[in-house]
């Protein structure tokens, strides 16, 4: 599957992306069900953002995964990797048959991303590391006079990690306007609501206080996603954080807004029900 025709209107692009996102969600469910374990909640909340990135926003070449001028994408919330693997397979980085090997012995698709997987730029899975890596990659781009962008997708639970804020301070210091951090704000983490586990407060304001520009967007509205990223390109001299309002488990009714589905595999009936709902979803 190729990138959406960027000559089309925003509305047309969004309609195409919505359709692709349904297939991404289907693959996420298939993959986790066959693996017998994995993290559906956060993969589904990030499905629309990842689809917009991989099928519209990112300047990448699946035939040449290490193309030096490519945009970089770091899935800092590494446990959501089924969404990444679905997008990579659909863009043609590797054959879709690999999706059935998720979490199995010697699979190229590990339980958390490793850089050996075609299209994966960095090993993640231990939370809080992605922004530092993104900062390094963005600095590399500046030093070598490349104009690629670096996108880092973080979870709202993940920003509990102190390292995120060390990186946030540094990104601002270096005025890295080619770095865009997207926070998948699904309001839930493994053991409950972020508000209870560790309140994150107003995330956009926090990034602004660290010297960033920050926007909010609806992480399930393709038009909003595309327009907000366009807006980010216009910001010069500082990094941009985009706080995406999302729903954990989005697209599968019994998973939506349930922290219990952070890291649980559906049983056979739940699996069938999930696929049915995703296929029948009207956008």
């Amino acid at each position: 599957m190729t990138r959406v025709d960027t000559a089309k209107t925003i509305k047309e692009r969004a309609a195409c992306l919505d359709k692709i996102a349904r297939e991404v969600r289907e693959r996420i469910i298939n993959m986790i069900y066959r693996a017998g374990s994995g993290h559906p909640g956060g993969a589904l909340s990030a499905a629309d953002i990842a689809t917009a990135l991989y099928f519209d926003i990112l300047n990448i070449d699946p035939k040449n995964p290490r193309w030096p001028d490519r945009d970089r994408f770091i899935l800092s919330k590494g446990h959501a990797c089924p969404v990444l693997y679905a997008c990579l397979a659909m863009r043609g980085y590797f054959a879709s048959k690999h999706l059935d090997t998720l979490r199995k012995f010697e699979s190229i698709l590990q339980g958390h991303p490793i850089h050996k997987t075609p299209g994966v730029d960095m090993t993640t899975g231990s939370l809080g590391h992605g922004l530092s890596i993104g900062l390094g990659m963005a600095l590399d781009g500046r030093l070598r006079k490349k104009d690629y962008y670096v996108y880092v997708l973080l979870g709202d639970g993940e920003i509990n990690e102190g390292l995120v804020w060390e990186a946030a301070m540094a990104c601002s210091k270096f005025h890295l306007d080619t770095l865009i951090a997207i926070i998948d704000k699904n309001r839930l983490q493994m053991d409950g609501a972020c508000e209870d586990v560790m309140p994150t407060g107003d995330i956009a304001s926090k990034f602004r206080a660290f010297g960033w520009e920050a926007f909010n967007m609806d992480g399930h509205n393709m038009e909003d996603i595309l327009l907000t990223v366009e807006k980010a390109y216009k910001v010069k001299g500082r990094p941009v954080a985009i706080v995406a309002d999302t729903v954990k488990g989005r697209g599968v009714s019994y998973m939506e807004n349930r922290f219990e589905w952070h890291g649980k595999c559906p049983d056979r009936d739940q699996y069938k029900c999930a696929l049915k709902e995703i296929r029948e979803a009207e956008q």
Binding site: A35, G36, S37, G38, G78, R103, K104, F105, E106, S107, L109, Q110, G111, H112, I114, T123, T124, G125, S126, L127, G128, G157, E158, N160, E161, G162, L163, Q189, M190, D191, D196, V197, M198, G263
Partner: protein, 316 residues
């Protein structure tokens, strides 16, 4: 071999509750993993003594150090991978250097995060924790021993790291033997070669010894739950008896359990030693059983290594 009917993490969670009933000063801390690590049981029973720190391990261990100064006995709980690799400097500076009374479980230790892959499995924890000042290190072999070790560590005023694998373990000993610091247990007497295991790997040694027995080789099996301090006398005693040692761990032999045994032997009674574990590698995503097979950590592999070392020449 009989298996227990409960996973080690469940026993860990229940034992925390039992200890909580006895020790008012015991505090459990969490980095957003309480359903996985089963500290959720403690959270329900003692909500006032449960501190949710969020996904911020460095901070959690620092707070643990602070709490223990006030006389509390904190159990900051996360996966072995994150305790050993992510929070290391805080543990060194603010728990070990001042010798504070903090008990650190390494949940999902070794290969037992399985499908989670390299980020969540931990091959390095024994080597890392063993190197820290004042830190004691335990890798319990079964549920009874885990429970016993957790009771015993309450009597030690200092930092302890103990592994809590995510497995339903075999019952290593028919009769409950209490955990004691620096005490190994002879599980099976033998004269030809000594298999020394730690944690859940001792059960692998027991099976390996059965394979060897079928070939007329009498292997001694020793279980060594207390890695630091270690039972130097027992190591030297078995070395004198068999002259051949095979150590078995699910972790890196570089600095790990094999190294700990080797250090004793080199100093006190040099004999041939072969350390079974992994080298320069990670535990990738797969069911635990597949990982053990791939990394040659099965009873057959251990038996094979024992036979090889039997045929090796003496040290001097």
């Amino acid at each position: 071999m009989k298996f227990d009917n409960e996973s080690m993490r469940e026993v860990f969670g229940k034992t925390l509750v039992e200890l909580g009933e006895k020790h008012d000063a015991l505090i459990v801390m969490d980095a957003d993993l309480n359903t996985s690590t089963r500290t959720v049981l403690f959270k329900k029973r003692f909500p006032d003594r449960f501190v949710q720190c969020g996904i911020a391990e460095g901070n959690m261990f620092g707070v643990a150090g602070g709490l223990s100064y006030a006389g509390f006995v904190p159990f900051p709980v996360t996966f072995a991978a994150f305790a050993s690799r992510k929070a290391l400097d805080v543990i060194f500076m603010n728990i070990c250097c001042p010798k504070l009374n903090v008990k650190i479980p390494g949940c999902y230790a070794g290969v037992t995060a399985g499908e989670g892959g390299p980020s969540h499995n931990s091959a390095e924890d024994i080597a890392i924790m063993r190197s820290l000042p004042h830190m004691r290190v335990i890798d319990p072999g079964d549920n009874n021993e885990l429970r016993s070790a957790m009771n015993e560590m309450m009597a030690y005023d200092g930092p302890v790291y103990f592994r809590v694998p995510k497995v339903i373990p075999p019952l290593l000993m028919e009769e409950m033997q209490a955990f004691r610091w620096a005490k190994g247990i002879v599980i099976r007497e033998g004269t030809d070669v000594s298999l020394i295991g730690t944690g859940i790997m001792t059960s692998i040694c027991v099976k390996a010894a059965e394979f060897l027995e079928a070939e007329g080789i009498h292997a001694e099996v020793i279980h060594m739950p207390s890695i630091k301090p270690i039972d130097e006398d027992l190591i030297v005693k078995t070395a004198k008896k068999t002259g051949r040692i095979v150590t078995v761990e699910n972790g890196s032999v570089y600095g790990g359990f094999g190294s700990a045994v080797a250090e004793v032997l080199v100093e006190k009674y040099p004999v041939k030693l072969d350390a079974v574990g992994i080298k320069d590698s990670t535990f990738g995503s797969a069911p635990i059983r597949d990982l053990l097979i791939h990394h040659k950590l099965t009873p057959k592999d251990v038996a094979e290594r024992a036979k090889n070392i039997l045929h090796a020449k003496n040290v001097q």
